[in-house]
Amino acid sequence: MRPDTPKVLFGIAGQLIMQIMPEVRTPIAGQTLTLSAALLSMVAQEFDRAASRLVEENRSVRTLLAASRDTVSEQALRSRIDAETADMHEHDFHVSALQAVNDRLRSLLIDVHAAVETTPGEAAAGLNERIWDELKESTRRRHLASGLA
């Protein structure tokens, strides 16, 4: 057994601040060290959750896209929705692969959102609200404990 990756990264960040920072002589070096430590802390959080976050979000966006299929009228957009929702499961759990899927799905979500905004009727209005809820949820998924927010 070896230490968890986040534990190691947090450990390096702590050593940078506690052991190295007192030896730093210039403001720019101090800034670089502070940024390094802060980045390590944020990357540590992201390392642990990235796959989980992407799987959850991809599932959520696919479900939303599937629900929007009958509301959007443009055939080309429907075809893209069909293609992206034909298989609702992930098959490659590398973060880079999950991110590539996420990029495709969110790109399609942008186009669906734009179409829904200009579509009259209660179904479109309801779908619009669901998309906004998903966008809000997407920021919650990405929230980091350190940083401004």
């Binding site: 992201e46 966008l135 401004l148």
Partner: protein, 338 residues
């Protein structure tokens, strides 16, 4: 860099000999250009002379693709105006002297500039006065008659009705060119901005475009220099007011803008100083716009680092720190946030 600076200044200061450069330090921050401080001492006509300078040098890549000559022109235009700015000395568009284009300005000594120092107890008795002065200076920037100045030589003014569109087109293009992943919140904001344009401003003014706590030099005696003019342009003055209010600059996280003033107080001071009435709906448009612009800036930094154009850790740091936060701010600006 000392020998190169000594050679350069000797060539620029007629009759100077024995040029000695000291205290060369890079100043943290400077997300668009490397900012260095240095001191120079020399002999001139038998007398010893010395001056303190700031060097702003182009980096390989940055958060902004800003134009050096524009920034220099804005500084020059405001010299000897009521708006305090450091005096410009030299600009070099070639890379021969220091390996990259740069400009050099006089250094205003003894000032603070960072966003946290103003929260120290030392500043408590004068913080309100500094905040008032901040918005009085904003009004002075907007009152400045730019016609016939260096600004007009480098920039064509937009028609009043084009101000919003010119800025939105520009920053949407920046997002198009730099996003590493789709940005559904920013895209929704852009659609809203295009569908709900603000009324034309009564006047086209200088817009500093990054006017906030952190971009002026201050002491307990007040504000001594407005800096970081790299995004300055001609446009709608409300852009500056809204930008100074952005949630990302609420350094004390208690709703005070810039961590020093409530929005309504700032608006009242600005209205008194400028003699104008702030259109709240237009201000809201520029608030949403500011979030889009902010996101475009963070995305540019992310792209620069991802593409290997820069190794500056500020770029991934702002990506991890601010891109999602900016999305949260954008949602709140559009009434869709928590």
């Amino acid at each position: 860099m000392e020998p190169e600076l000594a050679k350069y200044l000797t060539s620029k200061i007629p009759g100077s000999t024995g040029m000695a450069i000291s205290n060369v330090f890079r100043i943290p921050g400077g997300a668009s250009r490397e900012t260095w401080m240095f001191d120079a001492a020399w002999e001139e006509n038998g007398e010893s002379r010395s001056e303190a300078f700031i060097l702003r040098k182009d980096p390989p890549a940055s958060l902004l693709a800003s134009q050096r000559e524009l920034e220099y022109a804005f500084y020059r235009a405001f010299e000897d105006s009521g708006v305090p700015v450091p005096r410009m000395r030299w600009i070099e568009n070639g890379s021969e002297a220091l390996g990259a284009p740069f400009f050099i300005m006089e250094r205003i000594l003894g000032c603070d500039s960072n966003t946290t120092r103003i929260q120290d107890a030392e500043y408590a008795p004068v913080r309100d006065a500094i905040a008032r002065r901040m918005y009085e200076i904003m009004a002075e920037i907007h009152d400045f008659d730019w016609k016939g100045t260096a600004i007009e030589e480098v920039l064509a003014p937009p028609a009043p009705g084009e101000c919003w569109k010119r800025e939105l087109d520009h920053w949407e293009q920046v997002i198009n060119e730099n996003e590493l992943s789709p940005q559904p919140i920013a895209r929704a904001a852009i659609r809203w901005l295009r569908a709900n344009p603000p009324p034309p401003p009564d006047r086209v003014t200088v817009v500093h475009a990054d006017y906030r706590v952190g971009n002026f030099l201050y002491t307990v005696k007040g504000i001594h220099g407005v800096v970081d003019w790299e995004m300055a342009h001609l446009g709608d003055p409300l852009e500056d007011l809204a930008w100074s209010f952005m949630e990302a600059w609420e350094w004390t996280r208690d709703g005070r803008k810039g961590g020093i003033i409530w929005a309504e107080d700032a608006i009242r001071i600005y209205e008194e100083a400028s003699g104008t009435k702030v259109n709240r709906e237009a201000l809201h448009w520029w608030d949403v716009f500011g979030s889009v612009k902010g996101q475009a800036i963070w995305l540019t930094g992310a792209r620069s680092f991802q593409d290997g154009k820069t190794a500056e850790l500020m770029m991934p740091f702002t990506s991890y720190w601010l891109i999602n936060f900016q999305d949260e701010i954008m949602l709140r600006a559009m009434g869709r946030g928590a």
